[in-house]
């Protein structure tokens, strides 16, 4: 079953007088539980594609369907509901709140998910356990490393049990060892919780983990590859299916 479906999606920006086409006629289907990597050079449209899938930007043309629901950009409430129920975000620069503890950073977005403080506590504890940060719950973001901050960001994305997690360059601000740890963590979440992952990256370490990899160039999909078996982080060569 396709959890995400993009049909003939166009996205044009108008930063000045001349419009810039970021995405051109993109059609894409993503199945539940996939670990999809969106690859491509800088400016190829990776982040734009993720923003459209995450319903945080509106396409100029075409349609985005999430869990069978076609996004109607005139209905902000409906988009908010879809984001709340199905989507989790992992940001490149973590976007943690410096004055809140690790626990509170994960709890904060849950205020709008459940009013039950006890349920919230359980969700946060579970999420922190999953990323191995249960002992850092009372620390503040500036008291933990960059890798740990990204793990908090992952815990925050996972706390509400989303069906889809979108991560834009999740390892870009991390060193290679920490980046690998983060990727392993995502891989674990993907296989354990069957969460659909869509990652935008041009990091070779990330690319090697893909179930599926699409490559964007100048806003167009130039390659869409499925892998029989996910490679370990050491294996580099993908076996192309189609």
């Amino acid at each position: 079953m396709n959890i995400i479906e993009l049909q003939n999606v166009f996205k044009t920006f108008k930063p000045g007088k001349i419009p810039v086409t970021a995405l051109e006629d993109i059609s894409l289907q993503v199945s539940a539980g996939e670990f999809l990597i969106v690859a491509g050079a800088s400016g190829s449209g990776k982040s734009t594609l993720l923003n459209l899938i995450g319903l945080i930007d509106e396409p100029t043309g075409g349609s985005v369907t999430l869990k069978g629901i076609k996004a109607d950009y005139r209905k902000d409430k409906e988009l908010t509901r879809l984001r709340k129920e199905y989507l989790g975000f992992i940001f490149q620069n973590f976007n943690l709140i410096p004055t809140l503890t690790v626990f509170e950073n994960v709890e904060y977005p849950l205020l709008n998910v459940t009013r039950d403080v006890y349920t919230r506590r359980l969700l946060v504890e579970d999420a922190l356990q999953n990323v191995g940060l249960q002992d850092f719950a009372k620390r503040y973001p500036n008291e933990i490393s960059g890798g740990q901050q990204q793990r908090v960001s992952i815990a925050r994305a996972f706390a509400k049990n989303p069906s889809i997690v979108l991560a834009d360059e999740p390892t870009a601000n991390l060193d290679s060892v920490t980046g690998k740890t983060i990727l392993n963590l995502m891989e674990k979440m993907n296989s354990k919780k069957k969460v659909t992952f869509i990652l935008a990256s041009h990091d070779p370490e990330v690319l090697s983990m893909a179930h599926r990899q699409i490559v964007l160039k100048d806003g167009k999909i130039i390659k869409d590859s499925y892998y029989k078996k996910r490679k370990s982080l050491q294996e580099k060569k993908p076996a192309r299916l189609k």
């Binding site: 995450g54 945080i56 809140l100 998910v113 009013r115 039950d116 509400k160």
Partner: protein
């Protein structure tokens, strides 16, 4: 239901915790904003407390020195605005009404007053006077401050009180004799009086004209025992309406051609003065209100500006626009609440200190004594200040909060 309430309360506590933490992110800015609100709150409390002091003082003065709690007079007297002999009550009616009033538990004492105008003087000089004649015992309570001599007395029917300014003008002192002339019904009547006491009033103009005399002396001058007004003083002001009702019933039953008025309807000047002060407070309050609005709005705009990315992240993670609005309004509300509480605390510390310093304002127009600066805060004033601040904070936060909620997620996340 109980579980839902507990869940709601815990959720509110949790929400408040995040709100306080967010407010406290930029401590210096929050402190400056709260200081502004605090100053505004203290200003409002001081102004309201001062007007309250004036209000209490004037009311007490009006009841005790001028009107009593309620008055009874011939129909038309109150509206005629002059002490004409045409609007006087006969001795028979007065005696019956006074007896009835004194039979009521709520009535402490009664005074009957006659007003006369005439000329008073010595062999050398004279001046016009307006006499307030009453029962000496009651006038003892109503009399202004005596600075020399004694109050009116039953056993001294010719003893009068004159103002300090009149005493100076006539060159008389206590114990000196004067002649009072009154024109009644086409003939001139005169009696010899003695200065029994000299009083001090706030306004010298009053001291120059008003004299107090026993009602018997006034009757001697008028050659009649009529009365302009009957003043009733209650032992419990709470029983005012009940007493008015009883007296009105009695008057109706006996078909007396008189009417009853309570002090508040007679003390028009009091309403005007208090109204004037309240108007001033309204204007100053409005200025404070606007300053606080700009203060909080500025803080909230800056907070939102700093937190664009966070708003974007929150929205991306499923927060609705309303939820973003709620967060920022709660933060503005929180600043308003803390600022107001701080202001109230300061006012409660500051007011007793100022009161103990016995500050005075220069004499007002027509007055010769400085006015003491005393603040009398009440719970209503404090609560009022708190609520006005909370309302102001709420109003001030709406526009920045909506602005924050309207940011496009995509733009917010890209904001550097």
């Amino acid at each position: 239901m109980k579980v839902q309430i507990i869940t709601f309360l815990f959720d509110m506590v949790s929400f408040l915790k995040f709100t306080v933490k967010n407010v406290w992110r930029n401590r210096r800015r929050t402190m400056i904003t709260m200081a502004g609100i605090c100053v505004g709150t203290v200003t409002m409390i001081l102004l309201q407390s001062y007007v309250n002091t004036i209000d209490i003082g004037l009311k007490a003065e009006a009841v005790q020195k001028q009107y009593g709690h309620l008055q009874i007079a011939a129909k038309g007297y109150f509206d005629a605005d002059e002490n004409s002999p045409d609007h006087m009550m006969s001795a028979k009616v007065v005696n019956k009404i006074v007896s009835q009033a004194l039979s009521l538990d709520s009535v402490d004492f009664v005074n009957t007053r006659v007003h006369l105008t005439g000329i008073i003087g010595t062999q050398k000089t004279s001046t016009v006077f307006s006499a307030i004649a009453g029962i000496p015992q009651a006038e003892g309570v109503m009399a202004p401050t005596i600075i020399k001599g004694k109050l009116l007395a039953e056993n001294d029917p010719t003893g009068i009180l004159i103002g300090e300014a009149m005493a100076k003008k006539l060159g008389v002192d206590t114990g000196d004799s004067l002649i009072a002339f009154v024109s009644t019904g086409g003939s001139q009547e005169a009696i010899a009086v003695t200065v029994r006491g000299i009083y001090d009033a706030l306004m010298p103009e009053m001291e120059k004209v008003i004299i107090y005399m026993p009602v018997n002396s006034a009757w001697d001058l008028m050659l009649d025992k009529k009365v302009h007004r009957i003043l009733l003083f209650l032992n419990d002001p709470e029983k005012l309406n009940q007493t008015i009702g009883t007296m009105k019933d009695y008057i109706r039953k006996n078909e007396f051609n008189v009417e009853v008025r309570d002090w508040s309807t007679l003390a028009v000047f009091l309403k005007q003065i208090v109204g004037m002060f309240q108007g001033m407070i309204m204007v100053i309050g409005l200025i404070v209100f606007i300053v606080i609005i700009f203060n909080i709005q500025n803080t909230m705009h800056m907070a939102i500006h700093e937190r664009f990315r966070e708003i974007g992240a929150m929205r991306a993670m499923g927060s609705s626009r309303f939820e973003i609005v709620k967060v920022f309004i709660a933060e503005g509300f929180c600043i308003g609440l803390f600022g107001a509480i701080l202001g109230i605390a300061f006012a409660l510390i500051f007011i007793p200190w100022v009161n103990s310093m016995h500050f005075h304002l220069p004499p007002g127009p027509g007055q010769d004594k400085p006015t003491p600066v005393v603040f009398t805060p009440t719970n209503v004033i404090l609560l009022n200040s708190l609520l006005v601040n909370l309302f102001t904070a709420f109003i001030a936060s709406i526009s920045p909060a909506i602005k924050g909620a309207k940011i496009r997620i995509y733009d917010a996340l890209r904001y550097v």
